[in-house]
Point group: C2
Chain length 247, copies 2
Amino acid sequence: MDSSARHSDHEAHAGCALRSRGDDCRFCGVRHLSICQALDVDELDQLEKMASDSVFEERAVLFREEDQVSSVFNITAGVVRLIRSLPDGRRQVTGFALPGDFLGISLEKAWRFSAEAVTPLVACRFRRSNFEVFCEKNPHVMKKMHEFASHELNLAQDHMVLLGRLTAEEKIASFLVEMRKRWARIAGHEPGLIRLPMGRQDIADYLGLTIETVSRVINQMQRDHKLVIVPDGVRFVDQNYFDDLAL
Amino acid sequence: MDSSARHSDHEAHAGCALRSRGDDCRFCGVRHLSICQALDVDELDQLEKMASDSVFEERAVLFREEDQVSSVFNITAGVVRLIRSLPDGRRQVTGFALPGDFLGISLEKAWRFSAEAVTPLVACRFRRSNFEVFCEKNPHVMKKMHEFASHELNLAQDHMVLLGRLTAEEKIASFLVEMRKRWARIAGHEPGLIRLPMGRQDIADYLGLTIETVSRVINQMQRDHKLVIVPDGVRFVDQNYFDDLAL
DNA sequence: CGCCATGTTGATTTCTATCAAATTGAGTGG
DNA sequence: CCACTCAATTTGATAGAAATCAACATGGCG
């Protein structure tokens, strides 16, 4: 859609060295992480005809809770926050979508959460109606969708334990370990730097804490020489400390 | 399998007037609520050959976290608690399975949570290997499975908001409203009595609270004439109060 | 250089957990 | 039928973790 999506400056902002899909699914940097890993060359061809690259600025809204699901997205580069809001303004961030993650797994008519770009974003976009037909015509794509949904469900249950039963310190440690694992999977190796492109408020809303508590706990961890805070993220100093605390 | 499953005393204990599957899926009391609603007469026949009624006593363990998934279950009568435990004994109840609910939607090799009977229980049991083949041979069964998983995912996100952002009072109100809705769907009408077959500790572990807080909040609601506590459940007095507080 | 959003730090409050004890109630056996 | 037992629940007193309220610092950007 927008060829600037492939420019390296976008990728740098997105906190991810992966290329966007560009014009050819076969060269897609996130294919091995995404729903597309299930597809053979022929299916990939079909899918490519339906796909368009879509670029969003930081803070852009991809869709809002209650909106009709007219498109589904495969994140190519950048980070998205998924938000459920209460009428009085309280927010729960139910997850962060990273490169390779898919938005629209549920095939329901309306979104049940909002999605906002945390960083500049590139996403592979499909019209929902086309995508649904594609799924129903390819049983093993449907199965892969179901596997993704099952995986999401497990992650959601992990997160319930975190929200319901962990202390603030354990929540932060679990979050940092989770981010380290997810970036490692994307990069293909354990990164020295744990990138945290989302702000403190987003982390707080993800962990069921306040921004002050998030700030205090992370800064206390630095004072205790468990990590160092660096621009755009943190670096673990005492790996064991985190592995012991994390869920 | 065990014909005593259909005796009325079991059903009374199970807190549900529904009949078990018995020998014939066509007469199953929870069919319209369950995965089986998607099946035509022929598929129902195939499924019936794979099914066996399975009875559990109160407190019986259906399976534990990490166990191989050798069977999947469709709850016919009674209530199950789904539990994730931390090494130090902290527990999070991730959900309660009621009649019509399916355990084993994810088709992974190992369970990610434990399941224990809260009441005497009747479940329709399938060997996992058979069931998986059945799903893959019937694309619209796979689709129905995926719809169930998507629905679970939405419920999980609702629960994240509850755990992360609601006060104790709001959590209790939301829980009671949730139980009222779920029993209403099963009974086919709004019940006067909201059945709570699970103990206070289970409710606490579901809501991320302590047993003392659950007890205090419910009893305070009674003192404030918002509800009355009755054997096996509660009865709403001030419906508006709950609708206003609930998520 | 100064503005505004974001993040940090400090003081205090509040909600819920914790610790402790009393009460209820279902099931058991005399 | 009633006393007894044990688990579940309720209630009370206190402690503690995180929220709230309030400045203050930082840092990117026009």
